[in-house]
Symmetry: C2
DNA sequence: ATGATATGGTTGCAAATGTAACCATCTATT
DNA sequence: AATAGATGGTTACATTTGCAACCATATCAT
């Protein structure tokens, strides 16, 4: 058990460090320009990209706690970027959908995101992002299996 | 400009989602067992693995805000897992070093971490973690270049 | 040397977050 | 049908976080 432990190759630590750095550098781009918090951006992005969703689905899609989602959704609603529609099949659920203004905002932030990623892509070289994301997908798959163990 | 935007392949979003999931699944392992918060674990890990460091260095090493570091360090100090040593060359700086009990705690959590990673490694298959981490390192390098732009 | 600016670190305060409890509705068991 | 969980979602409250302001010390320009 005297194996060495190398923090530099411990995945949760590495992921946290990189994600924090990347997230903050991108957050700066939309925070000032759109007065949007991170959960708000993530909920908007999920809705804009996937389409109509329930709050729980947004949480699952973005790994956000349900209270975080609840508050982000409320904030988007207050801005009239999102409207709720009752689900007749299951009246606990609310369908959430972006308004036209919501889509407009979404497209604007998506432009920022595209530019950000293009820049990163240039710095990283061809195929790098794809390779990383393939790895991330594997991890997500593994995590699912792990839950059951 | 009508390029599509695919959230699923937007790196900050993907990183956030995976990291949140991984982090939480590992945090469960030490939270109950050691009553340790995430920042505390990260500061302890940095100190145990790198050795004596200043608070600012811990922050740089782990992408943590300086107030987060300050509070985590205080918490570790209260548990007698860490002691501060003045730096004579620059009296603003404090050298932070784990006590013997601190190292003991570090080794115990490191065991957990090793087990966690071994498990993940088994689920992912040979070389997967290394490949992912190589990608993360590239991103970190790119971010540094990006700051200057 | 002296003042201006930068850096390491802490703290007050407001804002963001998670936990637990809650309401409403749905599903399963009887 | 009636009752006992489960699930979607919100909210009160306590904890955690980040920003800004601050203190102390160091560095730089003059």
């Amino acid at each position: 058990m005297a194996e060495p432990f190398d923090l530099e190759s411990f995945l949760p630590y590495r992921l946290n460090r990189v994600t924090e750095a990347v997230s903050q550098s991108f957050a700066r781009e939309y925070r000032q320009r759109f007065q949007m918090t991170r959960p708000e951006w993530r909920a908007l992005a999920a809705l804009g990209s996937v389409g109509c969703m329930a709050a729980t689905e947004i949480g699952a899609h973005s790994s956000m706690h349900k209270t975080k989602v609840s508050r982000a959704v409320r904030a988007l609603e207050v801005r009239r970027w999102l409207k709720r529609r009752p689900n007749e099949a299951d009246r606990r659920v609310e369908h959430l959908e972006l308004t036209p203004q919501g889509y407009k905002a979404y497209r604007e932030v998506a432009d920022l995101a595209r530019a950000y990623q293009a820049n990163l892509d240039r710095l990283l070289g061809a195929g790098a992002i794809e390779r990383i994301e393939a790895g991330l997908s594997e991890v997500e798959r593994a995590l699912v299996n792990r839950q059951q163990a």
